[in-house]
């Protein structure tokens, strides 16, 4: 399965990477913390780790590690606007429930 970006998310990621002037791609990850068990992580990647898995989506390289992938396999990362706020949103099919804020989740 793997992980993907929506086209809109990919456009934004490419924009951010070019403004930043460096970076191989985007890291999606999962940390075991947060109010509902797990928490997402979204970072630029300057160096790939040895254990990293990578995926291509709309011209953007996505990195994750095997442990994280178990929780986010099949995820599509979207970029959305809500009122004045805008940012990335994980559409993760593995989630059973998430905390009200959506920053952490349970599988």
């Amino acid at each position: 399965m793997g992980i993907t970006l929506t086209e809109r998310a990919a456009e934004h990621v490419q924009g951010f990477l070019s403004k930043r002037g460096k970076g191989l791609g985007l890291r999606l990850g999962v940390k075991t913390s947060g109010c509902s068990g797990m928490a997402y992580k979204l970072e630029f990647v300057d160096e790939a780790g040895e254990e990293d898995l990578s995926f291509e989506s709309h011209g953007v390289t996505l990195f994750t590690d095997a442990k994280s992938l178990a929780y986010i396999d099949g995820t599509e990362l979207d970029f959305v606007k809500e009122g004045l706020n805008e940012g990335f949103k994980f559409n993760n099919p593995n989630v059973k429930n998430e905390c009200g804020c959506g920053e952490s989740f349970n599988v």
């Binding site: 928490a39 970072e43 004045l84 805008e86 998430e98 804020c101 920053e103």
Partner: protein, 619 residues
Amino acid sequence: MALLQIAEPGLFAAPHQHRLAVGIDLGTTNSLVATVRSGAAVVLPDEHGRHLLPSVVRYTPDGECVVGHAARARQNEDPHNTIVSAKRFMGRGLADLDNPAAMPYQFVDAPGMVQLLTRAGVKSPVEISADILRALKARAEASLGGELVGAVITVPAYFDDAQRQATKDAARLAGLNVLRLLNEPTAAAIAYGLDNASEGVYVVYDLGGGTFDVSILRLSRGVFEVLATSGDSALGGDDFDHRIYCWVLEQAGLSQLSANDTRLLLTHARAAKEMLTDAQEAPIQATLSDGQLVQLTLTLETFEQITRTLVDKTLLPVRKALRDARLSVEDIQGVVMVGGATRMPHIRKAVAEHFRQPPLTNLDPDQVVALGAAMQANVLAGNKGDDDWLLLDVIPLSLGLETMGGLVEKIIPRNSTIPTARAQEFTTFKDGQTAMALHVLQGERELVADCRSLARFELRGIPPMVAGAARIRVTFQVDADGLLSVSAREQSSGVEARIEVKPSYGLTDDEVSRMLTESIAHVHDDIAARKLAEATVDAEGLLAAIDVALASDGDLLDAAERSALDAAIAAMRAALAARQTVGINQAMATLNEASGDFAARRMDRNIRRALTGQKISEL
């Protein structure tokens, strides 16, 4: 559902721990708020997509406080309760204001800072600025989906202590945590990423709506230092509108317009000016209140011609700042353009010609300061890796202490980079002196009377000692926000006194420039005054010492010697009264000579006294 932003490698925050920070450009005419999202600095728009928030606050009859476009729209019909340009009043007393009678406000002179009487009560400029900051904070929190950990707020490089303190107070009132106050030109340089560039000297040319500022920054080892600032507080884009307006009056043969027609034509003038940024000519069409139709075409060439003097006027402060920094055009690596008025092509051309290189213009000149502030806020909030900047700013006028004779001893010279701390030792002037008054001053002149008094405090509890024996270390410290604290400590006893200098009211930039020009114009007077004051202090010290000597050992002199010495003393006092440096020095030489023999005899007697009854072996 929280929306996520991309973080730097390894820096993604735990849920609910995002360190949201913004940069705020609190401007005279417009204000902006910006942040760094997914690594990129962006200005946050309002719900209509507008980036600029007019710095206008209106207190409505139903007790509401309206900020921004809605307030500005009502400015003409409700001038008393619609406050524009509150930034000009920050940290200022009524006496500091330029022609307050011409402004539509009801000023209340209050100790410290002028206040404005509105229907919502008496408002201080700090409260009005806080209302603007509150609106920006609300916009930021709605855009970022959380509470802010802090903000970097920009201030003009020439803002003095009182104005910086007032800005910080406004932020606190608005519930904002100030990570740091940042100089506007420094913020602009950061936005252009000059901090990542090679080392060099950069000029920031900031032509706003009503003010012009030029700053010279030096970047070395990743550190920004403001070398010099200059400007004109009454020159801006509005003056260009006014020139077009005058041209329209002349061309259309108009005179004595009503206030409404004036406003109408000024609006058209402004539109024409903006159009000429990309076009070769702009039509001006307006129907006046008496039905008369004004129909003209302004060509770029004519526009450049009628505003040439304004453009040239901006180059004067540019030269002055270069001179202050002891640099020439060849030393400048880059020129940053700030302020909407720098969109005018002939301004860019003039600046390019002056510096013999094209200026940096690819960022929006209205946004560049806010963007730089946001980038600095992002670093200070801890969202960036180790490639941190340390920023240095400058103090606009020297800071010093009053010494005997009404002279100013400069402790921190002007254009010193901050934060800084300097210490100097002072001593007592009189035997048994147990207290010392410290008078903190700001300015370039030699005499206290010509400088600005910032604060006074006293160091008490100095152990009684002979004059000159006490060692009092006075430390001046200016923090990163440009605020001064002064401490004095007697070294042997450890008694200490200190003061935070929050001057009751600030300096206008006109005053700063006046004080600077005067210090140059009066350099000879000042040297003469200093010499006179120094001679006077020396002479008074000598007289005091002789008085003490005569009281204890007067019997060493016979009548003739005594009267000769008395005559020299009288001559000395007369010379002091005449206040002529040469005369005082001559009388002092005579008095020294006349008392030389007496001093030698006193020394002999004292040695004899000390030695009487002592054995050689015990010495």
